[in-house]
Subunit: 356 residues, 4 copies
């Protein structure tokens, strides 16, 4: 049985001043189940008012958040039972386990623990069952809290763009080339002199390896206390492009059981997500939609679909070598980062694992 | 034996007011072997002074060209023995054969005749031998002139980026995703509302099919009076990106004979183009160069290499599924269009097939 | 006394497929007072389903609109009592009077009738009293309907950015340089080759003259049956910049009664719009807000303020020559076009001049 | 009498790894009079090979420069008699006087000493006579060397765009709004998330004050041992726009002696620069050209005029309030920075003040 909370659950954001931290704060503004009560950040800005410390990037800063004081990133200073982590990888590795040890639920966007065998890497619509790893994690590590991760922004778009096909036909091989938005690099991130009117065919931090590994974990199966990753191979090439938000993934796919483009469209259309009907506040009507327009999806026009939580798939056609060609596009800082963590939290609330 | 002309050869540009036509005119300015004497265009602007009719797109218009009067696109009006065609496909199909029939050499960037069995589709550094088709063409069609075509802008970048590998190891399969500059669409071309801060995963005019077919013809072998296309398969996905000039091709390649990235680099480095030493004025020092920089090639920074005639290849690495991953980038309106036709003309001059 | 309508009033959009037409349709989607029942367009697309004919530019097309059939732009074909005109100037001149003659309220964004002596050019927050011209207009022209115009997109941003200062201190001279978004040119509008990474210091259609005249009319006073335009002089220079939405106006102002920057801020803060408290659905909380951030307003970050209906003013400071320097920025297709017409209609509804 | 050097003069670049430093190195490549022999930089990169330390921003790095080793910025380590300073303001204040004291000619782009009474702020075509301040400077400071500065990038464009008018009619008042390229902020400079598809109406480092003061000094007269700045007032508003290179200045000008637009054009056309005929290698054919095209100058299309050393002026027309409206555009890192210093050096060589 699934539940809505009877009162709003207090939450904190770690790494609150950065680009992903800001997206958490925007998405938490007015959230029906969760209430932002604390923000924490790196040493430089601690003690400052959030409204003064953050170089706010989009729209107007929520007023309540502006008045919060930036706390240190320690479980002593931050008291909320649920923390969203937008920490840099350099900080997340040490800090997140401290919070889990102290009994907190850590919903993290950082890469550090994603591939840990006992850390669930979850997209609620795709692999909610992986949350069972929380028990293993607590047992092995002796934690009362837990770390639940979401994938890298490009891995999430790729995974959602493939999930209906993988369920229906099985993926055997994937060639993917991404065109990724600048907001994926955070702030200040990509210098304008590098990207204005340009393409950079590389993204640091092992972006290609993340796609090649995280996707398989997310599409994998829970086998006892472990995840058996999906058994196919991925070849990824990433590019940075002068787009504000929205990652595009151009894919060529070989299937276990061959399918025509029409069958592929049908697989997308008939696909039911694992959280349909739960009423999670952040869940879009459809996690994946198919567009039949000739020249879509496009990041600027499709990234905001479903409040930024819908991945749009288009140009589904026969591949001259393998089975299918298709293009998937999704919002990298919402579906691919803060919104992903938030939806994970909502799923945990809905299952009663996080309660007021 | 190869020769330089003793005096400059008069040439004309058909479709002179468009984006590619303008590039012809820029590249012909001060050309040591060729002299622009006539310009021709569609009906709307005929009779006008070129300097008044052309919405000039880059830098300053060459003064001599500005004073020319736009002629009709007929062999009666245009008298030069060599014509460069930047005509739209809608016009080129009818007009180009008229010029060839009238004894002119037509160096064309239009797509209409590229895949005709008796029309050579030539990159001088790659397949100059295909010019032998000219004899077949003349014989079959009863022409005194001839049509010599260059490939589509993206096909040329892909072909040059592959040629050294194909020669050394043989290509067996190619997955390619392109990120193409707006200038490839001509003028007015892509509306800014469509592309500013955006990506369009489609290009009209069967761009993907062109890559999938032209590349094989250009990498094919002359077999008697015909071209036997290269026998491998290509899967292409194209994208338009907000870049002014320079197409980027992200490729995953399977080889006939497996090669390491180091061997691939060596193949590029040791590759000798078919026109080395001919002294063609438009030929770059190297038609293909390898960059070892982490995040190159980049269109804005590399498109102008070799005066826009050099394709830069980078990120050569092992592919997780096939043999190699690599990225090639080249200038689409120079190497991929006007500069390509011009180099074809220079090759014909050098071989004595075009003479003053 | 002001009223809300008891049932939704049927409205039509003329010129519905263009960029401004689309913005009307987006803003009308779910409107509490007005119901889109008809769309009309130029000859080419008549009879087509709207969803098929429109090259949709932003987000998802409202479903109800998609199913409407495009009608001819005549009062016989279009029956709604209220029509929003997004017609090109070439068509609006003839068509709009026909509708007014036929008894319809024409809320127009076209430039044709803006400066007609008996056509009110209205920003509800600034000069709602100008609606009194409707009586004159009907009397003079023998119409049962009426034409009510809104200003050019840049004039509206300038006028709102000045209105509080003009009321408090009187403007004596204005130097204004604008940086205008590409969406102001409609679709296909500005070719990407012209504007990507570029600035164009000119906008066709007498953009500078519009700023120099419309602003004075909107800031003018109703004097009997006429508008006495504001008596100051304006020097305008316009630029197109690679921004999607949001026009920026950099202004240097001489005042009738000198004011310090602090007094100017106070004038903005204490300014009350003429429609405060009317509860017009499209009215923002504040029509003009002052930002104290060092480097704001910025179009990408501030254009959406107040649902695109708020103009943001910043960098208010002492001018080295005149009195004040300031920068105003507002959304050009919402506040500066479709949203402006819509707010005018809401004002007419609220006054009972348009009724179900 | 003016001279060319009999052998190339050895020069060094301080702050060689930054954006302006790189532009110095590009412009010095193949220079007929000057030979780059040393590069120096901040502590972090000292001792490294230049080719390894510099994140090269444009085109291919000159090979000779790549092999130089980065030296400390001290006159002991750097031995060249002429040094170009691309140092940050934080470093230039202390370092440049050390070099001048040690007998070196310092041609600086840094802002620190520009407004010092005894430092010439020179545009060779405009105020070469100001070099007479060198004597005063040496006398006052007891230096054997000297500091010669060039103006800020926007001041230089404004000054060149006004100089012919000021000479012919006298400027009385100037309102200027600039649209400045991102390269003016150096590297990494402006974050792409701040400027992509956006405008920032502010530039740090007192950019507006620089325009308001430096322009007057450069247009001033040498009066004995001092500069009497031009006696007019300037009101400046600056903006950052998503343009790679090229600053645009939109100006409204009041003249001492009124002039029509035609007379203004004539003043520009008949203007002779102070260095015409000297044969300085970096001097363009014309330092200022007038364009009559409707929508020019445009930074992307006009910045490279005259090798980046020509300022293009357009849209000269009657101002509705003052005398004239006009737009000037010039390359900010060439004419507005490195090329400016280089031309100053060439002038000193030509006058025999710098000799091999």
């Amino acid at each position: 049985m699934h539940t809505s909370p009877t009162s709003r659950i207090p939450v904190a954001v770690l790494g609150a001043t950065g680009a992903v931290g800001q997206t958490f704060i925007r998405l938490l503004d007015g959230h029906p189940w969760l209430e932002l009560v604390e923000v924490a950040a790196s040493e430089r800005s601690r003690g400052q008012r959030y409204g003064d410390a953050a170089h706010w990037l989009e729209g107007a800063m929520p007023r309540a958040a502006a008045e919060l004081t930036l706390l240190p990133c320690t479980p002593d200073a931050v008291t909320a039972p649920v923390v969203f982590s937008a920490l840099d990888a350099s900080a997340a590795g040490a800090i997140e386990p401290e919070f889990a040890r102290a009994g907190r639920f850590v919903l993290t966007n950082a890469r550090n623990h994603r591939m840990d065998a006992d850390v669930p890497l979850v997209i609620p619509e795709v692999n909610p069952g992986h949350l069972a790893l929380i028990d293993t994690q607590r047992e092995r590590r002796g934690w009362k809290g837990a770390i639940v991760a979401n994938g890298n922004c490009s891995s999430i778009v790729v995974t959602l763009g493939l999930a209906p096909l993988h369920r229906a036909f099985g993926i055997r091989r994937l060639f993917v080339t991404t065109l990724q938005a600048i907001s994926g690099a955070g702030y200040p991130g990509v210098p304008s002199l590098d990207i204005l009117g340009n393409v950079i065919p590389f993204i640091g931090g092992a972006e290609e390896e993340k796609i090649e590994t995280e996707t398989l974990k997310m599409l994998g199966d829970l086998a006892g206390a472990e995840i058996a990753p999906a058994r196919f191979r991925i070849s990824a090439q990433v590019n940075r492009v002068p787009v504000e938000h929205g990652h595009t993934a151009c894919m060529a796919v070989e299937l276990e059981r061959s399918a025509t483009p029409e069958e592929a469209v049908e697989a997308f259309t008939s696909w039911r997500s694992a959280i349909d009907g739960l009423g999670l506040p952040g869940a879009p009507e459809r996690a994946v939609v198919v567009t039949h327009a000739t020249a879509r999806p496009q990041p600027r026009r499709d990234a905001d679909a479903g409040g930024g939580m819908t991945v749009t798939v288009g140009r589904i056609r026969r591949d001259p070598i393998l089975d299918l060609r298709l293009v998937a596009s999704g919002h990298n800082t919402i579906r691919g980062a803060a919104g992903a963590s938030l939806l994970n939290a909502e799923l945990l609330v809905s299952r009663g694992m996080i309660a007021p």
